[in-house]
């Protein structure tokens, strides 16, 4: 018993150290680039630059939770493209209200994540293989959907209403960009979910030892599956924000996001074998390269 307490303290210390290191890197980065170019130091520029990386940050947050259970989700980028296409099609070609379209988009993301999670935890296929298949499937579906639209695939669907563009284009108090605000809110949600809730404890337990989790009466399959649902949901949120930021939706919007997301999660101190990791680490690590 005492051993485990000691271990826990060591482990927390380690995490704190790692997060401190990330903060130091971030400050160092700002100072170095700031001294190279004065304009970099202006707050709007600093906060504005996050727009380009916001989707990576958002997906990585919940990718961390997946990785803590010992899985991995590489289908996030594909879900971004798919939700973007779904959004465009529902709004332009089906003529739905933009907000209903957004909600349906989020449901799409949840369904994609649920399929991943079901195959991983109930059928027992490796997470990497399932999400690889998901990567092909969802990006393929996005391309198929793009051919259904009246707009050509290269132009993408544009001309969204102003309120929708405001999701990414608006700034709170004229300073803080909305995407950054969304990111902060998601950080808080993810933090509470992972570090302050019972579900979070279960996630860690499943990552450390699924058998132990199963013997202590936790429905570990459901816990693991739900992490993929969260990951899918976050990818669809990223898809909506990115679509709003760019003002048009394209099937290949999320291409190339896969690897940066995994990189951010790992840089944040999450063990790829599962059982260790933190939201703050990922949040910092996602911001540092950007």
């Amino acid at each position: 018993m005492r051993m485990s307490v000691i271990n826990q303290i060591d482990w927390k210390k380690y995490l704190l150290r790692w997060e401190m290191a990330l903060i130091l890197i971030l400050i160092l980065e700002i100072i170095v680039f700031g001294s190279l170019n004065q304009r970099f130091l202006k707050v709007p520029v600093l906060l504005g630059s996050i727009n380009d990386y916001i989707s990576i940050c958002i997906i990585a947050l919940f990718g961390t939770i997946v990785m803590i259970t010992g899985g991995i989700d590489i289908s996030g980028g594909a879900i971004v493209g798919l939700t973007s296409m779904v959004l465009g099609l529902l709004w332009q070609d089906a003529g739905l209200n933009i907000w209903i379209a957004v909600v349906l988009c989020l449901i799409t993301g949840i369904l994609c994540g649920a399929l991943n999670g079901f195959l991983v935890s109930y059928v027992g296929v490796q997470a990497m293989v399932v999400t690889l298949a998901g990567l092909f499937l969802y990006s393929g579906l996005a391309v198929v959907l793009s051919t259904l639209s009246v707009s050509s695939a290269y132009e993408g669907i544009g001309g969204f209403p102003k309120e929708f563009i405001q999701i990414a284009g608006g700034r709170l108090f004229g300073v803080v960009p909305n995407p950054f605000l969304i990111f902060l809110i998601l950080v808080v949600i993810a933090y509470v979910l992972l570090h302050k809730s019972r579900y979070g404890r279960y996630v860690f337990l499943v990552g450390v030892n699924p058998n132990a989790a199963s013997f202590s009466g936790i429905n570990y399959k459901l816990v693991a599956m739900f992490t993929y649902v969260l990951s899918g949901l976050s990818a669809s949120i990223a898809g909506v924000v990115l679509t709003s930021y760019l003002g048009s939706c394209r099937a290949d919007l999320g291409n190339g996001l896969t690897m940066p997301v995994v990189t951010a999660v790992v840089l944040g101190g999450t063990a790829i074998t599962g059982g260790r990791g933190s939201i703050l680490g990922t949040a910092l690590a996602a911001i540092v390269p950007s």
Partner: protein
């Protein structure tokens, strides 16, 4: 159980081949012109690059690791090889340089994974980024174009009137590797390590060295694919090979190579690659739009891995039942010999 497991591992690539045959015959039923020899050869020719990548990756996967840097390696080696040939080097020098670069990238991967104990996916992910970046530095973001016609014509050379040179070489390589992996002592090291690292170490297999060799071979095959890419496509963009790493892994999975390591063969990986690169052509012959390409690939992957997981579960359960039944039987006979009554169920 051993026999069963062996049969399972051996039928994996047979399953893939059967699937390929069914796929081709099914397409042939709808559109008979698909089954002409010319068309089948075109299908095979088109998959040479993926076959080469998949062979390399299958080494690494069979040994229990993973390599996601082959796409960037392909791009860099293609760019280097193409630009050297454009600037007047001989094919030999350019190829050797490309292969050396590929081997060096593989060596870095292997050393990082075995000596620094970095998880393979992280290490190769990092290397992927570095190599992709160095393509931009090397080419200054420009396309490598204006390759000599001789170089581009290698892709069209045919032997005996119909067999493509690259295809022939690739098939020979696959046959050679298959024999090596299954007949030579050292060839079995890869699967042994992938199946059980601890056991492999205990019986004296040089684990680290073999894993490094797997990565180096993977790099070399990616470089080979790069040379073929430069010759077949005729120009190299800085984004050449983007996403090919995922396709190579998918080809391996389609071909029955298990990502847990220890199970699979290069022949399976080859046929997996053929299936994957033929899908778009099959779609065209079925008068679908080739936009469905990735969707179908994803669905096929899911079907195959789910079927595989369910079959394995079934056999595991069956083996467990047989073992329990055998144990009960044994206890029963012991009791009867002792003159007692069996109380066990």
């Amino acid at each position: 159980m051993n026999k069963l497991a062996k049969a399972m591992t051996e039928t994996r690539e047979l399953f893939t081949i059967a699937f390929l045959v069914v796929l081709f015959l099914g397409t042939g039923l709808v559109n008979p012109s698909f089954l002409s020899i010319d068309n089948i050869l075109l299908c095979l020719n088109g998959s040479v690059i993926y076959i080469l990548l998949a062979i390399g990756v299958s080494f690494v996967i069979i040994a229990g690791d993973i390599d996601v840097s082959v796409g960037a390696t392909l791009g860099l080696t293609a760019a280097v090889c193409a630009s050297m040939i454009r600037d007047g080097s001989s094919l030999f020098t350019a190829s050797v340089t490309a292969l050396t670069i590929g081997a060096a990238i593989g060596l870095v991967n292997g050393l990082g994974v075995t000596k620094l104990h970095i998880p393979a996916i992280i290490m190769t992910l990092g290397v992927n980024g570095v190599v992709r970046g160095s393509i931009y530095v090397y080419t200054e973001g420009k396309w490598v174009e204006n390759l000599p016609a001789v170089f581009k014509s290698y892709g069209q050379i045919t032997l005996a009137g119909f067999v493509n040179l690259f295809l022939l070489i690739t098939v020979l390589i696959v046959a050679g590797i298959h024999l090596y992996l299954n007949r030579a002592n050292k060839g079995k090291y890869f699967a042994a390590i992938g199946d059980n690292v601890g056991g492999a170490t205990l019986i004296g297999i040089p684990v680290d060295r073999t894993r490094i060799i797997a990565f180096v071979l993977c790099g070399i095959f990616a470089a080979l694919a790069g040379i073929v890419f430069a010759s077949k496509v005729g120009f190299v963009t800085p984004t050449a090979g983007n996403g090919y790493e995922m396709k190579a892994i998918a080809a391996c999975v389609l071909g029955g190579v298990s990502l847990t390591g220890g199970v699979g063969s290069v022949v399976g990986a080859m046929f997996g690659a053929v299936i994957m690169s033929s899908i778009s052509r099959i779609l065209v012959f079925l008068q679908f739009s080739s936009n469905w390409d990735n969707t179908i690939t994803g669905i096929l992957l899911i079907i195959i891995v789910v079927a595989d997981a369910l079959i394995q579960k079934f056999f595991k359960e069956k083996a467990r039942r047989e073992r329990l039944a055998a144990r009960d039987l044994k206890i029963e006979t012991v009791f009867k010999e002792a003159g007692g009554e069996c109380k066990c169920e």
